[in-house]
């Protein structure tokens, strides 16, 4: 199943401190450690997790660098309020994904997507190079070739969106591919409860591509807006069905 692969982006889960950071990060996002509380002292914590103090401290540094922890001598290490977390950090998003569908978070995520991507499509229509257009077309063709809903199909779908972000010529937008990935993962995690969604997403993708290729920025934006709107509706339906059960 897609979505279950190791997508901790910034650190390897093979390394011990990486595993520890993942575990504690997950606990914090899940709410096991509420903002404001002090974590167990390093000494107790690393005996509890059965790792050395070094490994624990390296994990703490990772989480601190994402705005989730703050340490001070004598007082201890506290969990910072959610407002100061780097919510757009790939790992933080990943943990937020893994703790399950929180309605508010999914709304924020989808909303963010629907702000970013249409503008990216617009800019891509203005700036995309021929090579970038070819790349986008290639991803689209591969999407067509793959069975709807299969991992390959989803992979090329993501690639399609990512390439558009890149073609926007804005390096801040270009690095936001994982936001889309995270949103799509959420939808996949929900979508296994029902069938038949995303059947008609191919022509929508095509219209986005054609608008970009034609350098028609307003239409590219509109087409992407529509595509994402449909995708979000699918997610909402799945969410509602899940909530009814």
């Amino acid at each position: 199943m897609l979505g279950t692969h190791n997508n901790s982006r910034t650190f390897s889960r093979r390394s011990l401190h990486g595993q520890v950071a993942h575990e504690i990060g997950l606990r914090i996002v899940r709410g096991d450690y509420q903002p404001g509380i002090v974590l167990p002292s390093e000494e107790r914590f690393c005996t509890e997790l059965e790792v050395s103090r070094t490994a624990l401290r390296e994990a703490f540094k990772v989480l601190s660098s994402k705005g989730m922890l703050e340490a001070r001598p004598k007082r201890g290490t506290i969990v910072k309020p959610r407002e100061s977390w780097n919510m757009l950090d790939p790992d933080v998003m990943n943990w937020s994904s893994l703790v399950g569908p929180k309605r508010d978070y999914i709304r924020s995520l989808n909303e963010f997507r629907s702000i970013i991507e249409p503008m990216a499509a617009q800019l891509a229509a203005e700036r995309a190079t021929d090579e970038q257009l070819e790349g986008i077309e290639a991803a689209l063709e591969k999407m067509k070739g793959a069975q709807t809903g299969t991992p390959e199909s989803i992979q090329y779908d993501l690639q399609f969106h990512q390439l558009i972000l890149h073609a926007s010529g804005n390096e801040l937008l270009a690095t936001l591919g994982y936001v889309i990935e995270s949103a799509v993962e959420q939808s996949i995690r929900l979508a296994h409860t029902r069938r038949g969604v995303r059947e008609d997403s191919l022509p929508l993708h095509e219209s986005v591509y054609l608008a970009i290729k034609a350098h028609n920025s307003s239409e590219a934006r509109a087409a992407m807006e529509y595509l994402i709107k449909k995708a979000i509706v699918d997610i909402q339906i799945s969410l509602d069905q899940l909530r009814k059960t």
Copy 2:
């Protein structure tokens, strides 16, 4: 002078590993260590910097968690390509700010702002609570009270924008305050070459506030769009003047 205060957000510069992370992060963003190259081995590097291996490794973990480094035994620690950096991380933005005005980066930053903030204003117009409206108004009043261009004025200006992001009711947008801060810092860093800019920004702010208060979302968005457009023009002028010298 504002902008020179310690605004490394996620780690303290007092701690040694924090200083080291700051120094190496700056070097990487500045291009002293090009993407793809392997850094000196930990042993050599920590003798060069005159810190223990522990401190160096904790710094490495911070930078790795921002997508800037990747370590592997025997090969060494390499600088990852710029595309994989978490460009929206507060520290990465701070370093990008500090290395000086790179035209492309400033354009991306301003563009990103002009995507995010108008939408935030629109959402704020739809969702802002009375308390949030009061906060925004208070910041605006304090702006009026302060002399244009002074640190206090800029501080309340930032606060104004930050509160609107918050009032958008989207926690992903709400955490992007430092993006604006970074953009404004850039403009301040450039603006010392000339006078008289931002004189008329107060009425623009007021019109944004009034639209939000009136729950007029389209006007709120338009007003914010206009406000940022003006701000960006100011920055461009400063940049051009700087480039002429």
